[in-house]
């Protein structure tokens, strides 16, 4: 009946899908998607001439077979969970931050530099300094994209990707130049002193306390969304920023805040990898955590606890996949196929449901 008002802008289709994935999927679809993905993976193995049952047995063993393997699963899950929770918060706010990779790397870099500067301080001081520096670095990097979006209308999908390139090369420059360990030919910092290393959680394994941090963060984010006014406003803004703004919600501040929070969490994940796994900053700190975490957030239906469980699932697949490769000879990339196939199935199902949704409101709004 009317022209579209100038102030209303329809969200893009992918945004709608993302938001729908957050709440619109029944929970049972996820185990079903996982099962289907494993079946497809099994078929691929048969084609490749491998017994899928042997391979999956090796996968399960590699993920949970020994205490160390459980530790591997948890260690892999930790950065994915930390980053994934941040991205899930972004998704809830309708922000598509795909630059966690860069925020993660800068967090790791900042943590390593502060860790060296505070190398002789007591462990608690060093670690806190590293964590704060990493969170500031990650948040600052995300903040650039946030300001570009809020004040210039630049698409955060593009800016965060571009900023990730800049971050990657910046870190590479620092590790090949000023921050390089003179004693090593490799692009890495000097090893951290023991006060800059995360303490072990389970003696006899490499498990560090990072997983506790990830669980605490996920629960805190969950409570924030459920119980806090800020969480309420974040969700409302994500579903309809125009209506949120017209109801007086500080939409810009919400966008910027959630961007900063997710950047800080990605940075913190970088610190955890530096202080908990590598013991120094290395140029290849991330085997793509920042990107995998996007998928983790999607699979977790953009809920913090969902992201935590999705991260554990991916951690298990990643740890088990490596072991599947070493013991059965199935390429670990097959596990990656299973991971992404799972998410693809969930998204396809959501899109399918969105298309089939009976258009009741359309009927009522002639």
């Amino acid at each position: 009946m009317s022209q579209t008002p100038a102030t209303s802008s329809k969200p893009a289709a992918w945004r709608t899908t993302v938001v729908r994935v957050t709440g619109g999927v029944e929970f049972w679809t996820i185990p079903v998607a996982i099962l289907l993905a494993f079946i497809v993976g099994g078929v691929l193995m048969v084609v490749a001439g491998v017994n899928p049952f042997d391979a999956y047995a090796a996968l399960v063993n590699g993920a949970f077979g020994t205490t160390q393997h459980v530790a591997d699963t948890l260690i892999e899950a930790t950065p994915l969970a930390l980053i994934g929770v941040g991205i899930a918060l972004c998704f809830r706010g309708g922000i598509f931050n795909v630059g966690a990779e860069g925020q993660f790397l800068l967090g790791g870099m900042a943590a390593a530099l502060v860790g060296q500067a505070l190398g002789t301080a007591p462990s608690i001081v060093t670690l806190l300094g590293m964590a704060i520096a990493a969170m500031i670095a990650g948040a600052a990097w995300a903040g650039i994209a946030a300001l570009l979006k809020v004040y210039l209308g630049a698409s955060e999908t593009l800016t965060t990707i571009m900023l990730t390139y800049v971050a990657t090369y910046l870190v590479s420059y620092l590790l090949n130049g000023p921050a390089k360990d003179p004693a090593s030919p490799l692009a890495q910092t000097a090893p951290l002193t023991s006060s800059g290393l995360l303490p072990a959680l389970l003696p006899g394994t490499t498990l560090h306390v990072g997983i506790i941090l990830a669980v605490v963060v996920a629960i805190a984010a969950h409570l924030f969304l459920r119980r806090r006014v800020g969480g309420f406003q974040l969700i409302a803004t994500g579903l309809n920023p125009v209506a949120a703004r017209s109801a007086g919600l500080p939409v810009r501040r919400i966008f910027i805040s959630v961007f900063l929070a997710s950047g800080a969490l990605a940075g913190l994940a970088g610190m955890v990898q530096v202080a908990g796994v590598q013991g120094k900053m290395i140029v290849n700190l991330s085997p793509g955590y920042g990107y995998t975490a996007i998928v983790v957030a999607l699979l977790g239906r953009s809920s913090p606890l969902g992201a935590l469980f999705a991260a554990l699932f991916f951690g298990a697949l990643s740890a088990g996949g490596a072991s599947m490769e070493t013991s059965v000879g199935v390429p670990a990339s097959l596990v990656t196929i299973v991971q992404y196939l799972t998410v693809l199935l969930v998204i396809a199902y959501t899109a399918f449901r969105t298309l089939r949704r009976p258009s009741r409101t359309a009927e009522g709004e002639e």
């Binding site: 806190l128 964590a131 590479s172 303490p199 306390v209 605490v216 406003q233 070493t326 670990a332």
Partner: protein
Amino acid sequence: MKFRLRHALAVVGIAAVVSLTAACSTAVSTDSATSTGTATSAARTPVKDLKIAIVLSGPTTDHDFNQVGYEAAEAAGKSVGAKVAFAENVSDANAERTIRNFASEGYQLIIAHSFSFGDATLKVAKEFPDTVFMAGTATSNASNVGTYDNPDYQGAYLAGMLAAGTSTDGTVGWVSAIQTPNLLANLHAYEAGAKDINAKATVLHSFIGSFYDPPKAKEAALAQIQKGAQVLSAQTVGTIDGAIAGKAYAIGALTDQNFLGPQTVLTSVTWDVSPLFTDIAKAVQDGSWTNKNYSYGIKEGSIGLADFHGLESKVPADVMKTVLEREAQIKDGSFTVPYDVSTVD
């Protein structure tokens, strides 16, 4: 109505503080548990049913460093009757876990076939004192970690001679990954070889800053050709593509890479690490293995020049003759290729 997200940030921050504080109380005891391993080299117990694992940073089919290592491990396994497993495309971030996986699965000889896996190898080696680790790095000090290297600088000397002799004005190029001692030795030997045949030779060099980045290597190669380089030493994947595009000659590395550019690749400095791996596997089997550095060069038959595939004609005959004479001198010990690992700009 104030937005509360900064409170959430505060919550996250506090959460971080709390869990770190809680964790630090247990830090002291665990730290000492994982501290030092002593460097002794006592005789080891012989190993029956040897299982060998090799961890690779790239694919087994790269016609380069990783393929050389993978095929040598297979050859060694075949010759001593050992089972061989491998993990390919292992990133630095995951190296430690992969190496530990092999160790905990009972592999008695684990070859970490990348210079960037050294620290990870040392870390895992402390936890598995009965396992033998071979690391492609020069900073080992653990009793169960040996090192090996690729003295292809010896071949690089010959390549430098060939390149400078083939180039009409003595300008040649060299494209590689990162300033590791091994590659620096290679570069300096290549330069020395070039000067050996033409005292006025100019050697351009590039480090692309990554072990595997073909587009960047191609770019670097093209840049050197533009500056006048007529023959390039291809020390990283992508260089030969650049030589083809820039219509220059290239000298391959590690394997016979002529198939990558039949009209471009004059020859290749080949590295066959299988004698080395086979000897190590035998030593582990009979308990005679020690944690020294293993280095097999031209003399041991590990380093050599590949077939020219009909491109001999591009090399002036006198140059070819001098090169072959020099190779013979290295074999019989009458000439020693200079070894220099000083860093360059």
